[in-house]
Amino acid sequence: MATTARLTGRFAVAGMLGAMGRRSAQERADGRLGLLLAAPAILTILLIAVIPLAGTIWDSLFRLSLRFENAPRPFIGLENYWSALSDDAWYNALQITGLVAGVSVTVELVLGMIIALLVNRSFRGRGIVRASVLVPWALTTVVSAKMWSWIYDGRYGVANDLLMRLHLIDTPIIFLVRPEVTIWAMVAAEIWKTTPFMALLLLAGLQLIPQELYEATALDGASPWQTFWRVTLPILKPTILVALLFRTIDAVRMFDLPRVLTNGGPGKSTETVVLYTYNTMFTSLNFGYGSTLAVMTFLIVMFVSFIFIKVLGAPTQGARR
């Protein structure tokens, strides 16, 4: 925080000097050097992200199939977009993505908060807890999806075995075959992988709250519940918003887990927006329409981040996952 203040201070001073008239030779040299140093990063981003994005937008205006080489690819303007707006499969994917993102991020936040509040103290074995928190986070999503599909296996899966041993169910559940069960099985796998990390972020935020503040509110006779709502939560708000922003966007971009765990099935019951887009492009080879769906996904992500950053005021200076 002090660093940020010092940095802003330096920029403010530089700005004032600039406003006062001539920029010194040193400043101009610094400006040139700065651009030079940043140039490789800017070029990479332009070449690999910005220009291809423009390419996707361009492709979305054509009827473009990769199924046949040299097939005609007529320009059709916004027709693909109108098709998307009346595409039931897209609405289905949108609904599923919204449901999965909403439920998993909410549960992650609540569980993560409870864990962070309980673990926010020094105790023996902290290191073990820290290391085990990082395992689900570091684990490859594809591997995690494979692990869960083995756990959910209808015949040999350990999930059924445990539930039966605990007498919670009498007959095995075929987790990945019934749509109304499959989607929650997928959400559970997602929650398992991301909750620990949410807890970690929130814990880091909690540790910045000075102990004196809690002592003062205790002296004022506040109950723990009041302290949480009036003191902890407001101070933690920026951390929560950043965590929510990145988790929500991750959930909207969800591809690896449904691709490997269910491949969108049964039927289309777990087909997320990105998975549907991907299949349109690379299975149906319908590139024009797939590009349209990709642009729409991009717009959704931009919209979500706009809401978080501009409307809710998530601080993004140096934010990261």
Partner: protein, 300 residues
Amino acid sequence: MTAPAGTVSARALPTSEATRRARARMLEGIGFYTFVVGFVVFCLAPFIWTFLTSLKGPTTIYDVPIRYLPTPPDLVNYLEIFGLERFRWALLNSVIVASSATAISLLIGALCAYAIARLDFPGKNILLALVLAIAMFPGIAIIGPLFRQFSAWGLTNNYLALILPNVTFTLPICIWTLTAFFSELPIEVEESARVDGCTRMQAFYKIVMPLAAPGVFTAAILLFIQAWNEFLFARTFMSQPNRLTATVAIAQFEGADMAAQYPWGQITAASIVITLPLVVLVLLFQRRIISGLTAGAVKG
């Protein structure tokens, strides 16, 4: 002499109060550690179950009811997957792609981060916004043109086709981590080096880089994990069996004997092998990883 009853009870009262408090504290401690153990089990259980499965031979793995412990442990699954040429290639491909992407991203990112931390240059705010946008960017929005371009240039099944997107998508974390580190280094060190006749660039690689080595190392771990786990581009740009990365290989795993039952033994063994580098990194560098990951988010 009769001791006044009051005195006795007055003495006894604090003692019983103390024991009650001690008991309450102990109960709280037990409750707390039960929770902690439960949480650790929650985090590790799927991984441990996968590990146990990977040690079971083909006969015990499909036992019903389930046998939890592999008795005796059997390494046959590990021997089988390492016997597969495709799997050995997949590991090598992942190592090549992830480490090249990490190295390039660090190089590009370090220069950019230094400029952001220390220099005032035109378009800096636009750059920061661009970096943030890349952190949230859906890969699906660029995969089509990249795929067509790479195909046209004959770059599919070429490491470069994976290294380039991985560099791009690891840049935000690289730049953020390193900017935070550079900003925290005392600027006086650089200034005195320049007074002594160093140019800014000399000060950068002679003074700043060595001091920022821990930050560079932290960034390297984070970038490597991200690149190692990448799936979308790897699945799309690589199709030859010997060019797949580990994530794609495991997603498409068919096992040594394609006619056999779905080879869970081999899949779980492959899962463990693929995850092992990550788990080792996590265990060795947990403090660094956590400080690198959380610093930006909580500083706001």
